[in-house]
Symmetry: C2
């Protein structure tokens, strides 16, 4: 039954547009809304059900007990939630916004009756908008579904089923741990790419003419639309500050070592080790883990799974089938 | 005639091994030497002429008036140059080492009679060794050939012809300007990739499990063999210090803005602009420029060309045919 849960996607940019396509691919009834005329026209031209107003889209979600997916940038979340509160106050609700604590706080404040579990598919591109999306965007990707102390199993599983239907695997964690992790592996990369792109361009046409793979790859995400990067990074301010401080500490230590002994070995070897951990995790043998969702400790088990690099691959009745490296 | 100049490549790793292959592809007589048994065996198995000793390789270069290409990491350059000084003291000499001032100083000190112009193909991979190379590695790449005040036209053109024969285009500049530029677009990217990889790995398995394209691309070159990165970065210490200081300044400013106003707009927009300059340079319309190499000001013209993002594409008699963006 939950496999056929209808889906209402609000926001049809790269991520929301890909969720709508992937939900339809999975056979779900699905419709959406976007305030962008160009995204709306493109989605309709491709044959998707795009409503004329957000009220119409959310109203139908209430009538059909659909899962509402908030897929707008963080600064636009409150406005969408106010519509949800007025038209579908107790709906099943998830989101695909790149930070989780601020969204959870907004939901608690604005739609306290919603049956909510936050989500975040870890997949993006430096392009944006409906036209950049695809029904396969999430195939093989990680998709966080927040399992906090106050998350209920019902909405958690609804959001997780959507993620699996979209081709992703589910990583359970808390909102706070999510935000700390993505500050390091998603937001800091954008800040460092911007710093690198600007410092390279300061070298003028000669430097840019000599730029090869290391600079091209290292600055790729600096080409992302600035408003999207700002919404994402500024929305995760405390966690990003910690990550930037760590990076500043490491870069300052490199600077000091280069100036004094001339040696960068500690910096470069730590980077080697970090990259090896990343590649090792991706190629690791993984053992199956089963989590009985009727167990009162189920969420503890799920959070431990996520903390260890594990992921939920499917459900079998009330059991989550997962795997874990090593 | 110069199209058939023989080539002797000392060092058969990724870059040297690719130069040997590309020189043979171009129809040149070419042989090499490497102190690595595995590289030597692999090159011989692929049918290339690899000599048993560096003396034999360099001795034959002297006998055949070959262009000697030094393709070992910076820390091994002096030893190779001592062999060149003893067996081929007035040979045509170039190198493909990633910094140019230290090599130029070593050549002036150890082989003052060499007819030398330094070179640097701006192409690499995070893999290393003979097996990672290919005859097409330099196709379409930039290849710096140093045109300093004391460079002679003869060896400059010999090194440039080799670069063109290898499929690259030639960027003329001074050793100092080269070193400053690559500090920004080649060495700083390695330092920042290392900082990012280590800071991300500090987030544990959860963070690495959530890493997507921005972290994967941003840390790719952190997988390069540490000794190669260290030789490259530590060999360009003064210029890299300047680049690291600029990056520290920009990252510190981002930190301050995030902590005070919460805004990262200046950082992210500067990164956007830098990336746009890079992509703009690559897609720019380019106009043809001809430099008459018999003109006493030819090297000034070539250096101006390089400073403006220009490149030499071929020679027509004593004229260098080049293009320049805009």
């Amino acid at each position: 039954m939950s496999g056929m849960r209808a889906v209402c996607v609000v926001g049809l940019g790269l991520i929301g547009g890909s969720v709508l396509r992937a939900a339809v691919r999975a056979g779900r009834p699905a419709w959406g809304f976007t305030s962008s005329t160009s995204d709306s026209e493109a989605a309709r031209a491709a044959g998707f059900d795009v409503r004329s107003t957000v009220d119409e889209a959310v109203g139908e979600a209430a009538a059909r007990e659909a899962l509402v997916v908030v897929a707008v940038p963080l600064p636009a979340v409150d406005e969408v939630l106010r519509t949800v509160a007025s038209l579908a106050p107790s709906c099943l609700l998830t989101d695909v916004v790149s930070v989780k604590q601020p969204v959870a706080e907004a939901v608690a404040r604005l739609v306290p009756g919603a049956r909510y579990a936050g989500g975040h598919p870890m997949q993006g591109r430096s392009e944006s908008g409906w036209v950049s999306g695809s029904e396969t965007l999430f195939d093989g990707a990680a998709w966080v579904v927040v399992a906090d102390e106050d998350t209920d199993l019902g909405p958690w599983r609804e959001a997780a089923e959507l993620a699996l239907d979209c081709g992703a695997h589910v990583v359970p964690t808390t909102a706070g741990e999510h935000d700390a992790a993505v500050a390091r592996v998603s937001h800091l990369p954008h800040v460092l790419a911007a710093v690198l792109a600007a410092t390279g361009a300061d070298g003028g046409p000669l430097a840019l003419a000599l730029a090869a793979g290391s600079f091209t790859d290292g600055t790729r995400v600096a080409g992302t639309r600035a408003d999207l990067v700002l919404a994402m990074c500024e929305g995760n301010r405390p966690a990003l500050l910690d990550a930037v401080d760590d990076a500043l500490g490491r870069l300052g230590a490199a600077r000091g070592a280069l100036a004094s002994t001339g040696g960068l070995a500690a910096t470069i070897r730590a980077g080697n080790a970090g990259r090896a951990e990343l590649m090792g995790l991706r190629s690791a043998e993984r053992g199956e883990v089963r989590v009985d969702l009727t167990d009162p400790e189920a969420f503890d088990d799920l959070r431990s799974l996520g903390a260890g690099g594990g992921r939920v691959l499917r459900f079998d009745g009330t059991v989550a089938i997962a795997d874990l490296p090593g």
